[in-house]
Symmetry: C2
Subunit: 408 residues, 2 copies
């Protein structure tokens, strides 16, 4: 391989650039001459917005900075390739651009949709007899990819959630009054991130009292009663962590339950308040005590200053393994994490047909959801704890973490 190209797609993570660094550094180490980057994923690629990464990632210090930079260095997109049939012109255009730039291998760092892109491109390449290799590098904070033990990006988001929940539980204990804190955590369909709030619990922290995942239906009345019960038991501060995607038995999301604002968006839809804001207001009215809502929001996926070393390292290795696989002639594959043991934590890398992972969603196993759907089992703790272990010391300049930035 003399020339390769790499892109990033979908929502960013705290370590998505560590995978990019893994692709770049490994490629250079094995003698690849040029590592191109596509701006804004396949969308930018189609507009031939391509950069020579060697001009911007100049040395090992830049590689280290890149590994500590949150949010896709090359920019991202939410563009899904259409079916091949009937759209051959688009696919031909992609292969023309690849040929024009003498590109031997194409790497795409992303989630479900990105794996679909790799599946389609490798299928079309096979059909056309092309020897260009296509490799998927998984990432997503949501941890919802099939087959792989977990996804790069999840560990750092889980670490941020565990640490901030821990600090927040402390904050909630400061006054000697009845108070409910409702924390909203990302993950519309899969509860992996919300479940991670349980990791706040330990010798020095009581952790959250209640945890609700989107894997089960949510009952606002039962929720209110559960909190009333805890308060009656003498516990003044109650902390409940809920997924942004919790919904009623009929499928209606909690954030759709009223709390309409006065505005409509450009599609004419009434805008909605958040899940935690709705529940906090509901509890204040029902229980008559102080309540507050906290959204961890996008900070979960960009809080790279608190990234997990395990996650950052695995993200790097997954990128590097994709390059090695392509250099050995593999195509249409994705690199997976294969856990050998929880304690000590041992995790190997594997290669797998990308078709098996594209468009499949992995949820939290039902048996890990306990206490009538209000808490998380120790099996989850055993699974997730190793993934948040270790710190990536940020390179601090002027009191803030320094980042590597691609010029416009």
């Amino acid at each position: 391989m003399k020339k390769i190209i790499v892109g990033q797609s979908g929502g960013p993570t705290s370590v998505i650039n560590s995978s990019l660094a893994g692709v770049y550094k490994t490629a250079r180490d094995i003698g690849v001459e040029t590592v191109f980057g596509m701006r804004n994923g396949i969308q930018g690629f189609l507009e031939e917005r391509i950069v020579d990464m060697g001009q911007y990632v100049r040395n090992d210090l830049d590689v280290e900075l890149l590994r500590r930079t949150p949010s896709s260095y090359l920019g991202s997109c939410r563009y899904k390739l259409p079916e091949i049939k009937g759209n051959e012109a688009l696919y031909d255009k992609i292969f023309d651009i690849l040929k024009k730039n003498d590109i031997d291998a194409f790497f795409y760092i992303g989630g479900n949709d990105s794996m679909d892109t790799i599946a389609k491109l490798s299928a079309y390449g096979k059909e056309k007899g092309s020897d260009i290799r296509f490799m998927g590098v998984p990432k997503t904070i949501d941890n919802d990819l099939a087959i792989t033990d977990h996804t790069p990006g999840f560990g750092s988001a889980a670490k941020f959630i565990a640490a901030m929940t821990k600090e927040l539980v402390r904050d909630s204990l400061v006054y000697d009054i009845e108070q409910v804190t409702v924390v909203e955590i990302m993950g519309r369909n899969a509860g992996w991130l919300t479940a991670s709030a349980v990791l706040a619990k330990g010798d020095d922290n009581e952790g959250p009292d209640l945890i609700y995942l989107p894997e089960l239906d949510f009952d606002p009345k039962a929720f209110t009663e559960k909190i009333r019960e805890i308060q009656k038991g003498g516990k003044k501060s109650v902390v409940a962590c809920v997924s942004e995607g919790i919904h009623l038995a009929d499928g209606k999301y909690v954030f759709e339950m009223g709390s309409h604002t006065d505005f409509v968006d450009s599609f004419g839809h009434k805008q909605l308040s958040g899940t935690a804001a709705f529940l906090s207001n509901m509890l204040s009215a029902e229980l008559g005590c102080k309540t507050r809502s906290i959204e961890f929001s996008a900070l979960q996926r960009c809080g790279a200053h608190l990234a997990s070393y395990t996650d950052n390292k695995e993200a790097f290795n997954v990128g590097g393994a994709a390059v090695k696989a392509a250099s050995e002639g593999e195509t249409g594959k994705v690199i997976l994490l294969e856990r050998a043991s929880d304690d000590p934590y041992v995790c190997a890398l594997g290669r797998h047909d990308v078709n098996d992972i594209a468009n499949v969603e992995k949820k939290v196993p039902m048996e890990w959801i306990t206490n009538g759907g209000t808490f998380i089992s120790n099996d989850f703790v055993r699974y997730a704890s190793p993934l948040i272990e270790g710190e990536v010391s940020p390179i601090m300049v002027g009191g803030k973490p320094a980042h590597l930035v691609l010029p416009k």
Copy 2:
């Protein structure tokens, strides 16, 4: 001094326990036998909920852990002492408890209201000829105390805001689409924390585009037009940081402008959405582009894993200086920070009459608010930059920052 007592009051900060550690460690170093702590401030003191801190802070490692623990270790309260006149029985009760426990000096870590407590207790002591000393140890993330150059707690909150805004600006640049991010930052009346968002700006980050403080009236129409103007200039991602306390010219808060929820609270008030949520909805309707709101929320005051070393050290020193002052016979005083120079940053400690600081609010100087009320001057950057410098490495256990916790 053989026996002293210390309490914490008002909202917590990331370094409020570093001041507590400063009081404790310095007292022990100068030969104080017993350091009592009052649970939940003066409120717990009145219920004689008093602990011997030496039983729980057993060695220097515990002191280090205490310095890294967010949220008041001893618990807090929002209790303001009534006027002395007509409430002598209450004051006598306080002095009885002090005498009963042979307490020589009383230290109170807090903001405006806590300094008022020190002012009243020292006045009453003087009136009664008591030789118990009363000292104020300032803290508040809001930085709104008079006379002192800044307050312990502000630097760490400002560092959290600067770092998270920086990471968030990166997150906002990932897609090649028009998008507005509205960030809500604490500080109802004084804009110090919101102004700190400007510190995100640097070689590797464009920082926020707009910053609105509560020191000036806010005009939603002008705000919308300003963003439209920036978008017309070709900038796709716009980040606006607003104080939770921005208000119209008639004094009405932005968060009161509609967006009522379906619930009333226990006082019969309609509950309100947040400032950023309201503005984000408004902009989506007006501009027709993607918008999102982010509230930094309580994380600003409990994100101790990202505390400023400068702030943590000063918080410790201020606690220690209060003990030394009391041991020299001072009473009715507060320890202040007195800056000698910005660069290199040099800051000394001073003692000041607590009456001058109690109940006074310090706002951001008008001349530091620029661009027609939409940005912050370099004078602020010079002022605030040294306060966020340096890191306090958290003691990480199992991937999370470890804390020292007072048993119930």
